[in-house]
Amino acid sequence: MTVQLAGASDADLAEVALTRSEYEHLVEGLGREPNRLELGIVGALWSEHCSYKTSKPLLGMLPTRGPRVLQGPGENAGAVDIGHGLACVFKIESHNHPSAIEPYQGAATGVGGILRDIFTMGARPIALLDSLRFGPLDEPRQRHLFDGVVAGIGGYGNCIGVPTVGGELYFDESYRINCLVNAMCVGIVEQGRLTRATASGPGNLVLLVGADTGRDGIHGASFASVVLDAESAARRPAVQVGNPFLEKCLMEACLELAGDPRVIAMQDLGAAGLCGSTAELAHRGGCGIEIDVARASRRETGMTPYEVMLSESQERMLIVAKPADVRSLQEVFERWDLHSDVVAVILPDQRFVVRDGAEPVCDLPLDLLVDGAPSRGAPGPRPLRAVAEDMAGIATPSWTPEEALLRLIGSPNLGSRASVYRRYDHQVGDATVILPGGDAALVRVDGTALGLAIATDGNSRYTALDARHGAMIAVCEAARNVVATGAKPAAVTNCLNFANPEHADVWWDLHDAIAGIAAACTALEIPVVSGNVSLYNDTGGTGIDPTVVIGMVGVLDDVSRRCTAGFRDEGDLVGLVGPVDAELGGSEYQRLAHGVNAGPPPHLDIDLERRVQGFVLEAIESGLLHSAHDCAEGGIAIAIAESCLLGDIGAWIGVDELGTGEGLINGSAGILFGESQSRFVISFAREALVRLHELAGRHSVPFRDLGSVGGERVCVSGCIDVSLADVRQVHRGALIERE
């Protein structure tokens, strides 16, 4: 018996996270009151997480087309043409809310989810990256979250056998209550086998494959769309426990079926479970679907249709096939010891029907369900920006440049990540050419000479100061990391992590950040092919700083021509490409020395950026460089020290060459540690100097030689002279817990 609602109460609506006006919109569209199940289903699909009601109108700004793009946003993941008849499929996704509650399982199931988005498209996942943000590491709770998340990412990725080759890690006040866990996955598929999640053919059947359905994660979608509060604790069964072994079996079986003509469509189950996946599948294909919940295998007894439809049990997949092919497909799954049930049938008209055996329990127009959520515009006018904090009253520490270098490189944000990535299998697949620790990871593509350079980037100190500008920098920095390997940027995925968008300042930051991504991607001619939006990273009125994570993939035609970030040969020259400025706004130096985030973020000249990247790419292609490393957090001094550490060789830098002379020695930290954009530290054989100057002239980029490679010390004449071993020791210890 279905319960008809005589008008939903406020409590009913709160439970499904719908507003009164959304409810009225629903009733109007439906021409009647929904029953309780229908209300729950609409609540899940109209949640921010599933409907993108706030962000969708803004995402339209992004450039999504380009000669390489095979699949832009709208499918489970984006895809680009990388030549050789192959497609590279990738996407980034957040699992912030679940990770805040149970770090291990939250992060693990986040990895599981993004993997499914990739192999649903028929692509074999070849690389994972994790982009993580926590509060200050010296707090026990942050250490607990950090440890749990790292263990969870490793626990899932290591077990399933996909290497975790890169990512990023920041610690900042703003994530103290809401940590961020974003995971990116990259896969490869022959273009002809690219599989879509578009149902077709009325009468065709839908198989539910993989894990049995349990009560876990019910309301996960709406849960990720509300502010975390004390009551979240009561919803704790929302935590799911991942089963990477089951996912491995599911992945292999699905890959076996990629491009198989018997498979009409493939769709993973993610947010809002069976409900979300079946609705999207049918909606994309312009047809309808009828689900019989009684046919879904359960892990528990006594589950209601509501629970079956909204369960977010992991490791499940839908396959659409002709009735005649179902049995033979099931045999493929059985070979991998996977159970499958026929749970639905495709309808000709666009209805979303749910039955419990013979009893109809839900009948909704699909369009209203998937596309009907009223979109949300700006909650108010653009607020005036608070004036940037005044640095005048803040004491400047009396650090010598050498002391500053050691403090920075031993800080949690700049120190060695080895203690993290050694917990991830980053080599399975026999393809990781550039291991974690450098700029972008470089992964060889099996059967070709191709390399894919992959990086994630996003410095939220800049976006906190200026969302548009910071987002542009995030795109440029990701591109710089890719370019430093010699690869040409191909496309972008992005994860937008924001606080409560019902506040005007947050909404406008979101707006500006998307505009910034769009501007930078347009200028650099890098399309956006996929992404994810995570809002409501806000607890008890404390929200995160706007955080844009850019995932980028670049293509290197021949891995043997790659460039790495470490200095290589004794006697090589060191050069700086790009401007020498003294911009400390938003820098890590400012964080450590002054304890603030203030002033304008570093200036960005996007045209110069394009030229600098063009210069570096051509220099690498021409075989002129022995190393290339982008200047990011910590500025020139840190970039040089990092190139020394990676190459296990020292360097000597002349102060005059930095063009500063006295000023630097007198403590101008800005030159050494300022984070001016569009810069690379490169090294090369003496003989290449003339050609590099010529090349720089041709690209109109500033280029100066700074010094030379060699010895076992890191020296900037007159102000820094420290042994590489000492630098290594503080760098290595940055994340290690001190008793």
Binding site: P244, F245, E252, R422, R423, Y424, Q427, V428, G429, V433
Partner: protein
């Protein structure tokens, strides 16, 4: 020669092993865990992975696979069986090798380069090396701490059945650089007949300079030489 590569549902080094075998110029056949036929393999590799999920104990369930019956019979007949990582764990669980592999002493998964010292050349797998040779081969495991009782350890040492030991880059004793805290720094052991080798490090990940090391290739070549008397010319060996 022909290497058979076992594939359990949770195996993930199978393709890497095939890549290494083919790079060495040999034939690889994949052996499905539900089958019994070893397809004329000259050497069976049990590769890395999490065979059946391995949640209870690594290798615990895999030893009962139909394929493992054939592998055990093959080993007992003197056939070459090479367990790598999860394969080593399976061989210990199946009692084809002594001892057990337990959680790393750090309690953390470890993926990192290690240096191995070749401790015996009296096996098909190491005959191509010299005793004391150092090989750079990565590890990647959470349960690789080799343990055995004192008697077993004494026997392994006496019979020179420790195949590899973890050492530092300069060849000195691993000390706190051990990736897992194994007793006697053991990275690999052979059985009494010396036709079964188990090792935690991944030689198939060390077959090309492009990936950081080609030292692992020496083990594949050694097996091939032992089997055929003369190893096939590796593809690209002339480069």
């Amino acid at each position: 020669m022909r290497f058979g590569i076992a594939v359990f549902p949770g195996t993930w080094s199978d393709r890497d092993c095939r890549h290494a075998v083919e790079l060495a110029g040999h034939e690889a056949v994949m052996l499905w865990h539900k089958d019994r036929d070893l397809q004329g393999s000259d050497c069976v590799i049990l590769p890395g992975g999490f065979a059946y999920g391995d949640y209870l104990r690594a290798g615990a369930v895999a030893r009962f696979a139909p394929l493992m019956e054939s592998v055990a019979a093959f080993a007992n007949n003197g056939g070459l069986v090479w367990g790598i990582c999860n394969g080593f764990q399976i061989l210990c669980e199946a009692h084809l090798l002594p001892g057990a592999l337990t959680r790393n002493s750090s309690l953390e998964f470890r993926c990192m380069p290690t240096w191995l010292r070749v401790e015996t050349v009296d096996s098909a797998f190491t005959a191509g090396c010299a005793r004391g040779d150092l090989l750079q081969v990565p590890v990647s495991h959470g349960e690789g701490r080799y343990v055995a009782d004192e008697e077993t350890l004494a026997m392994l040492e006496r019979e020179e059945r420790v195949a590899f030991r973890y050492v530092r880059r300069d060849g000195s004793s691993a000390g706190d650089e051990s990736p897992n805290g194994s007793m006697h720094d053991i990275a690999g052991v052979v059985n009494a007949r010396r036709n079964v080798l188990g090792m935690m490090p991944h030689p198939e990940r060390a077959c090309e300079q492009l990936l950081g090391s080609s030292d692992g290739m020496r083990l594949f070549e050694s097996v091939a030489t032992s089997v055929s008397g003369s190893g096939a010319m590796p593809v690209g060996a002339a480069l």
